[in-house]
């Protein structure tokens, strides 16, 4: 076995412009997909708990399909499959300033976001269901319509409960961006493959790639630890009786 330490260190500490661009795309896609997925997921969660039977069925079907099929297949389906069927074609968009927003990146973000929404929906739902039923009743008794009740009373409490699972989701999201390489997005994995095909320093390059992902997830982990500590401090004064998950069945009412 030969490991070229000199090459490894130079690539790790002074990565090429192409690699840095891949890093940028990885972070951009992860953040954008997480944000979009979190917003859409909240909608799916609320539909899943709505009094309306049709909404519940649609949301349930969505979660069923997304969680029952591989993310890799969803990515290819959205980018390649939809285009082949002439349903939806992702064209490059020229942004002001001469920046091109490639169609493959758009499709990648969309696929990751749609996938994330299904998982976020279930997380939101568990958080909302674990808020004490009395909180719903108190808000209703004051005369709050559902939207206001969720915004001011239920979600602030639910978000505290689901902070950790959400942090976990973003960790997974950072790593799942590598799957988008199959539709030709030059994120970190695809850039590394390209460099490898020219240099054949396979071992060094993939070790370096792994370390970059480890760096990203570790930074995120540090941030989450900080957020968790802050939350723990504020929950000292908020330590109110709260039902466990199994208890709050009425939450959707």
């Amino acid at each position: 076995m030969h490991f070229d330490w000199g090459y490894f260190w130079s690539q790790l500490l002074t990565p090429s412009g192409a690699f840095l661009h891949g890093l940028f795309l990885t972070v951009l896609m992860a953040v954008a997909a997480q944000l979009l997925g979190s917003i859409f997921g909240l909608g799916v969660a609320l539909c899943k708990m709505a009094p309306n039977r049709v909404l519940r069925a649609v949301a349930g079907g969505y979660i069923w399909i997304i969680r029952g099929t591989p993310l890799l297949v969803q990515i290819v389906f959205i980018y390649t499959g939809l285009a082949a069927a002439n349903i939806l074609r992702f064209n490059d968009i020229a942004l002001p300033g001469g920046v091109i927003f490639p169609g493959s990146v758009q499709a990648g973000i969309l696929a990751l976001a749609l996938n994330e929404a299904a998982y976020m929906a279930e997380i939101y739902r568990s958080g909302i269901l674990s808020v004490d039923r009395g909180q719903f009743e108190a808000a209703k008794a004051l005369g709050m319509p559902p939207a206001m009740m969720f915004r001011y009373i239920i979600m602030p409490q639910a978000l505290r409960i689901i902070l950790l699972p959400i942090g976990n989701q973003f960790n997974i999201m950072l790593k799942n961006t590598t799957l988008v390489s199959v539709i030709g997005v030059s994120e970190m994995l695809l850039v590394t493959e390209t460099i490898n095909s020219a240099t054949f320093r396979t071992f060094e390059l993939y070790a370096m790639l792994a370390l970059y992902f480890l760096l990203l997830t570790s930074l995120w982990h540090l941030f989450m630890s900080w957020a968790e500590q802050r939350l723990a401090r504020s929950s000292d004064r908020l330590a109110a009786p709260r039902k466990t998950l199994a208890g709050g069945k009425e939450a959707a009412a």
Binding site: D132, A138, A141, L142, G143, P145, P146, Y152, L238, A240
Partner: protein, 261 residues
């Protein structure tokens, strides 16, 4: 004889209420009304349906039959093509502002300070300016004896203090009537008195109140009318002195002897 502060206007009127939980009939054709300014106390053995009846007034419970009216307005249902159908949540929310509720377990919002708990509804639902809402809230806190707790969080308060805040929160919407669902049942004995004192003051101001409670001494003192329930039906009602000294129904006698001795 009714005290002069009670008007003849029926603020709350329930007729023929039937309610099922699964295969159990918890309310069995109940007629119930509350006049403006009246303090009505609901008593009865546990499982008799008194809390459920109370929760029907602000539509926290739906009903299978019968009508709930507050100020002559049908609650929770509307007419469509000559038939009654469930109303929209938004309309029901609007109707609930007329009636405040105090819960057995307080249900204060744990992520908000006492002041925020009291001001959130007037701020968001009545568009009261913040300064006015906070002044009103401080006035209410003085009434319930907790002006120094405005910036505390609910978890920092005792049960009795939390319940007094909950009463202030309900009053902040200036409801026409207040519903109390066993407001002292979750309290340590030494805190029951402070909550009952606030309720007694409130009754003295002419507030319309419907109270579900096991505090018979309090009921006798404060109620204008006592309504006794058993097995989902109203079995007896009348002035407190008459109910407590001369109960007619055997179940009322059984209930009172169980609680008073």
């Amino acid at each position: 004889m009714k005290p002069p502060r009670i008007s003849d206007e029926r603020l709350i009127e329930l007729t023929g209420i039937e309610k099922w939980f699964g295969k159990t009939k918890v309310l069995d054709g109940v007629d119930f009304h509350v006049r403006k300014g009246e303090v009505v106390v609901l008593i009865g053995p546990s499982g008799s349906g008194k809390t459920t009846l109370l929760r029907c007034i602000n539509h926290l419970e739906t009903v299978e039959a019968g009508q709930v009216k507050v100020r002559d307005e049908l609650i929770g249902y509307r007419m469509r093509r000559g038939r009654l159908v469930a109303d929209y949540e938004r309309n029901i929310a609007y109707q609930r502002r007329e009636v405040g509720m105090v819960f057995q377990r307080f249900n204060l919002f744990p992520h908000m300070t006492v002041l925020e708990n009291i001001t959130i509804a007037p701020l968001k639902l009545r568009d009261v300016p913040r300064q006015k809402a906070e002044e009103d809230a401080m006035e209410l806190l003085r009434k319930v004896g907790l002006p120094d707790k405005a910036h505390a969080y609910p978890a920092q308060l005792s049960g009795g203090q939390q319940q007094r805040v909950a009463i202030a929160r309900a009053l902040a919407m200036q409801p026409a009537a207040l519903l109390f669902d066993e407001p002292t049942s979750a309290l340590d004995p030494e805190m029951v008195g402070e909550v009952l004192a606030v309720m007694r003051d409130l009754a003295g101001t002419g507030m319309t109140m419907v109270i579900v409670t096991h505090e018979m001494g309090f009921a006798r003192q404060v109620a204008d009318r006592v309504v006794v329930m058993a097995n989902g039906q109203v079995i007896e009602e009348g002035e407190p002195d008459r109910i407590f000294s001369d109960p007619q129904h055997p179940k009322t006698r059984a209930l009172l002897s169980a609680v008073l001795h």
